[in-house]
Symmetry: C2
Subunit: 283 residues, 2 copies
Amino acid sequence: MMKIGYLGPKATFTDLAVTTMFPQAEKISYDTIPECIDAVSHGKVELGVVPLENALEGSVNLTIDYLIHEQSLPIVGEIIAPIQQHLMVHPYHVNGWKDVQEIYSHSHAIAQCHKFLHTHFKKAKYVYMTSTSAAAKFVSEHPHLHIAAIANRLAAEEYGLTIVRENIHDYDYNHTRFIIVRRQNEELTIDSPLYAGDKTTLMITLPKDQAGALHQVLSAFAWRKLNLTKIESRPAKTGLGNYFFIIDIDQKMDDVLIPGAIAELEALDCTVQVLGSYPYYIV
Amino acid sequence: MMKIGYLGPKATFTDLAVTTMFPQAEKISYDTIPECIDAVSHGKVELGVVPLENALEGSVNLTIDYLIHEQSLPIVGEIIAPIQQHLMVHPYHVNGWKDVQEIYSHSHAIAQCHKFLHTHFKKAKYVYMTSTSAAAKFVSEHPHLHIAAIANRLAAEEYGLTIVRENIHDYDYNHTRFIIVRRQNEELTIDSPLYAGDKTTLMITLPKDQAGALHQVLSAFAWRKLNLTKIESRPAKTGLGNYFFIIDIDQKMDDVLIPGAIAELEALDCTVQVLGSYPYYIV
């Protein structure tokens, strides 16, 4: 059975993504993103799954920064998962759920359900926990308290809570992205119905901060009709005002176009690193 | 005295930024980014300060998303603050600090001090709190426990802890950006020695997902020699695969160049929104 490390604790959104994508795997939870990436690097787990974008638990920046500065592991896959927040209570309180006095969750989850809470629980007190799953756990352990948690489906199952209102998040199209990293750059051989396409992620460092340099860089992709689905400048840790760019191209690494673009960028004194060329899955 | 709302609780990094930038102001803490922005919008505070990038407490994405989708307030200033993490203990434990058994902090702060902790506290247990300041508070309230917190200077002062090791974060050039929002788009009239320059932030929506569209957009800036210091694509909440871009130009709104670029983009069927043109301060 394949061992997969993920950013824990149990029943977070990362766990939900891993469970949906790899129902057969043995899951091992890690407390921080660096610990999870280190575990892959040291061969304790075969794959690691950590949030990359828009995450509730775990800093997005940490993932890319750690991969770039500390442990250079290839990205071998990506999981895109909708953020679906549910209101849940202890089974004792299913009938009286509208009158709960306190709502427990991660502060970002509470912010994501701002409109729903503002409409239905204007008088409730919000209590912040370190994760949505810690909130669900707390509610399950305090059946005598008249409280609710906001968390995902998996947390309700894990801690025996009853979902009393589904999908209370404000935006339907809010997604989290998780990347799958591996020690060696071997292709994931998963024949999954969730497969949705391929992409290639590059890290590009410009020679110096100059007007139009980024435009010149993008020309290398544009005239080859390589479509970019993400571009993000990130401060380098080498000094204030130094940046690098993370770019996603919506296709697999090929023999001609992407290598040609990279060669052109290097001729312009850019540094280019391929962080991965991999399939993505929508769960 | 000017009232300033900020993302709380007390003694977080947002509080530290506000305290450094506006030492004379009356500070009012809000539990979430939406609440803080709403308070500005409803006139309860004159300015609001919320994290925009690289934050420990508070999701970066939430700030831009809330400003774009819910409360369209202008950005009138920016504060750039280094992330400096310190190890602190109750004064009782100053001598024995190297033997603390548990270290309390926000999970991101613990991740940011990964190398230091890995070297000096390999056997300690890490306990996650909802914020660095909550960790400092807990340590101050449990003098009998042999524990430490990782938090900022302000938290040590606020909760009477002693810093036993300064600057334990892994990277010196790690910064957080905070934006200052206001109900009306009036200039901040602060004559501050921390003033470091001006920038203009635009939100640009491309007409459709097409190869090279972004390149075309950047041309409008490049040939005018407008220098971009940040570019970030963000998923729109209108459907998977829809994006908008946030762009920072390193100058104030002028009468010719930026309006010219905007007119050109609109002629290309882009939607352009000026989120603010404002001074930035490095604290």
